[in-house]
């Protein structure tokens, strides 16, 4: 029983950290229609930023400023934001698939830097040596994991509430308008380029937060953590969950991540011993099937976006 609790604590920690990134993507794609193919770049900026700022000094290498945790985390988030600003300014003219491939290229470039620029990022061996905040003070590892999960939940709920407030406000209405019809929005006095950039940067900073928490949890980050597969996983979570719906995004994360690792369990439990060696390939096939069948059954996601009127006026106290 304790084992199960311990595992579930762990499972939800990772799942909910990813859910934060999915919420960030939902702001970009679900509400603003920005096809960000480089989610992992901003995740990486948050993660590397945190460890470079908060980790101990390394011989002959840049970084390791040993800053207090919260400042380091904020620094990582800020780094994601700055990266998004630069990328956004350069790619703001692009649409759809073009934006996707351009941002994807940025992610690959970031991964290349992480892998090769040893002076900056530790190279392929990654960055380690980061002290998890308060770990020594708590002492008991199981308790610490549980407390960390609580912190992740607080972050997720905080991001969720903030985003709900944001998308329910006139700003959210503006985001949807840009997503629905950019030309019309511009003809009505709105500045789509500015709005797209704002949403892009905010979404990227949320991804950076997710990356920061991820790096905190493992106290380690390496180029393997920021492979392109992560971008696909996060996208699949959003699309399966239902883009444009923050609760759908969180549910989609749990379903896709649960299916992804759950298929591994199922195989060790059910497949005959002789098949265990092939379980890896079979697991991928199962994952593919889960994604395809979920989408066939619920093409707009598990919890699709609902049609709502933004209700922010004083008079409309009662919501639908």
């Amino acid at each position: 029983m304790i084992g199960l609790i311990s595992y579930l604590t762990f499972f939800f920690t990772i799942a909910l950290i990813l859910a934060i990134a999915v919420l960030g993507l939902n702001l970009q794609w679900g509400f603003t229609g920005l096809f960000n193919g480089g989610v992992v770049a901003f995740f990486a900026a948050g993660a590397y930023g945190l460890i470079m700022l908060g980790g101990p000094a390394r011989a002959n290498e840049f970084g390791g400023f040993d800053l207090p945790y919260l400042i380091a985390l904020a620094g990582g988030v800020l780094l994601s934001g700055v990266l998004a600003l630069v990328v956004g300014l350069a790619t703001t003219r692009l649409r759809h698939d073009y934006l996707a491939i351009a941002t994807f290229g940025v992610a690959i470039a970031i991964e290349s830097v992480a892998r090769n620029a040893e002076y900056l990022t530790g190279g392929a061996k990654g960055l380690r040596g980061f002290e998890r905040p308060l770990e020594a003070w708590v002492g008991q590892p199981q308790l610490y994991s549980f407390l960390f999960l609580c912190v992740v939940i607080v972050c997720l709920v905080g991001v969720y509430i903030a985003l709900e407030k944001l998308v329910d406000s006139p700003f959210g209405r503006l985001l949807r308008a840009v997503r629905e019809n950019e030309r019309a929005a511009q003809s009505l006095g709105k500045s789509p380029a500015h709005i797209r950039l704002t949403a892009f940067v905010i979404g990227a900073m949320i991804m950076g937060l997710s990356g920061g928490l991820y790096a905190t949890f493992y106290a380690f980050i390496s180029p393997q953590d920021i492979a392109p597969i992560l971008t696909f996983q996060i996208w699949a979570m959003l699309i399966v969950g239902g883009s444009g719906n923050n609760r759908g995004a969180i549910l989609g994360t749990l379903v896709v991540w649960g299916g992804w690792v759950g298929s591994g369990w199922a195989l060790t439990a059910f497949a005959p011993a002789s098949m265990q060696l092939y379980a890896g390939s079979i697991q991928y096939i199962l994952i593919g099937c889960i994604i395809v069948f979920t989408l066939l059954a619920r093409p707009r996601g598990l919890l699709p976006e609902r049609l709502t009127t933004t209700q922010y006026a004083e008079s409309s106290v009662e919501k639908r």
Binding site: G3, L4, S6, Y7, F10, F11, I14, R115, N116, E118, G123, A124, K125, G126, R128, G129, P141, Q142, Y144, S145, Y218, A219, F220, S222, P223, Q224, D225, A227, I229, V240, R247, L251, V255, G258, G259, W260, V261, G262, G264, W265, A266, T268, A269, F270, A273, Q276, L277, Y278, A279, G280, Q283, Y284, I290, F293, T294, A297, R298, L302, L303, R320
Partner: protein, 425 residues
């Protein structure tokens, strides 16, 4: 607010059910009437990962046939790491928490092993032994006292291997060398060390080219290296990209004088490139033991797989399994710390030498029952761990043969150390 019907999405339901189903017991027919679980997290969905898993299973079977651990069969629960840290760590966590394994084998990549070590095995007090993680980061973690003595790896430190590589180049009399290295932690490490060692020996390194994973073509890299016209090449690659690079290299008229790392000591590489082009290849590896039993191990392996135990990490995983299981046998109780505490006892240089075959394992059990210590003689040599869980092993030079590999030279540990000392002067 509209009510959300959570039950309607079928797939959601399915995936929520998965954790529940897994608890149901497996019904495997076993020789012994009890079984002990150990865990393994290996990249079985990757070409070079599947043979490692096969060898691990082979070692476990061998151990079970000789009597298992404390009379119980070992059930190795194998999970795929997908070479993705998130996935690997989750699998490790499930093995530790749900299957309650006291011992975890894996992972292969350092990028996966490291987060498993820091966030799963050490906090849970589970022993972890990796066949192939090479990052120097592990030595640092252990030196900082953060592994609680639970971490071991049977992968001989890259330092020794690099020195032997340089020695092979020198002995062959090559004057200029081009280097291809895999662009991961191991490759960057050994590529850098070999380059430095060669330059110390006064051998020109014409170029040092990083080879990234999963590229559609390595033509451009090969062409770049070709332009520098090296007399020989050194390759620290895995078979998949090694085959691709070597074939391009040879077909473009590059020299067939090659020195290769232990990762290319594999049938896949030999068959993939074609033996006829590899006659001038010499490789380095950590050495198998200088005892007769080494032959019996190879024979056992050959009987099972119809090939020699060649391939990245195969001897290493074999030893990792055997040492772990012997330590389990020696441990008073099956907890990670208790098992880890016995690793030194079964790899004691002053202990009785035992071989990794059925007879050797039987003998080992008897010796352990008497409280004696062992000196395990395995596939990578008489393995000895230092305080950080690292091994230093003697080295061997090898060449490809028609149907396998042959040993060309043997370098005892003392020789390697002396050679390294001359390099650092």
């Amino acid at each position: 607010m509209r009510k959300v019907n959570l039950l309607s999405p079928r797939a959601a339901l399915l995936s929520l059910l998965l954790p529940a189903i897994w608890i149901s017991p497996t019904s495997t027919v076993l020789a012994a009437d009890c079984e002990t679980k150990i865990g393994a997290v290996l990249p079985t969905s990757v070409d070079w990962g599947r043979p490692i898993a096969e060898t691990a299973q082979f070692a476990v079977d061998l151990f079970n046939e000789s009597g298992g651990v404390k009379g119980c069969d070992i059930d190795m629960v194998l999970r795929d790491s997908q070479v993705d840290p998130k996935i690997g760590v989750d699998a490790a966590k499930a093995l530790v928490d749900l299957d309650k394994v006291p011992l975890l084998l894996g992972a292969v990549s350092s990028g996966v092993s490291m987060p498993i070590l820091t966030s799963v095995t050490v906090p849970s007090g589970v022993m972890q032994m990796s066949c192939c993680s090479s990052s120097t980061g592990f030595t640092d973690v252990a030196a900082e006292g953060k592994t609680n003595g639970l971490w071991f790896r049977t992968f001989a430190t890259t330092r020794n291997q690099a020195a032997v590589a340089a020695k092979l180049v020198q002995d062959k009399g090559y004057k200029s060398v081009g280097i291809f290295y895999k662009n991961d932690d191991w490759g960057q490490d050994i590529g850098k060390l070999v380059k430095a060692d060669l330059e110390k020996l006064g051998i020109t390194v014409t170029t040092s080219v990083a080879i990234n994973d999963a590229q559609p073509s390595y033509r451009a890299e090969v062409t770049e290296a070709l332009k520098t016209k090296p007399e020989a090449v050194y390759m620290a690659l895995y078979p998949a990209e090694g085959i691709s690079v070597t074939r391009e290299w040879v077909s473009l008229g590059g020299t067939q004088k090659m020195v290769v790392a232990n990762s290319l000591k594999s049938d896949e590489y030999r068959d993939g490139v074609g033996f006829q082009y590899l006659s001038d290849v010499i490789g380095h590896d950590s050495a198998p033991p200088r005892t007769d039993s080494a032959d019996s191990f190879t024979a056992m392996y050959k009987e099972k797989f119809d090939s020699e135990p060649n391939g990245p990490g195969l001897p290493n995983i074999f030893d990792a399994v055997m040492i772990s299981l012997l330590a389990m046998e020696a441990a008073p109780e099956l907890t990670g710390a208790a098992i880890a505490a016995q690793v030194g006892k079964v790899t004691d240089p002053s202990g009785t030498p035992v071989n990794a075959d059925a007879a050797g394992l039987k003998e080992a059990r008897a010796l352990l029952a008497d409280g004696k210590s062992l000196s395990y003689q395995g596939a990578t040599g008489a393995v000895v761990f230092d305080a950080n869980g690292d091994v230093s092993a003697p080295a061997v030079a090898w060449t490809f043969t028609e149907d396998g590999t042959a040993e060309a030279a043997y370098y005892p540990l003392a020789d390697v150390d002396t050679f390294i000392a001359t390099l650092s002067k």
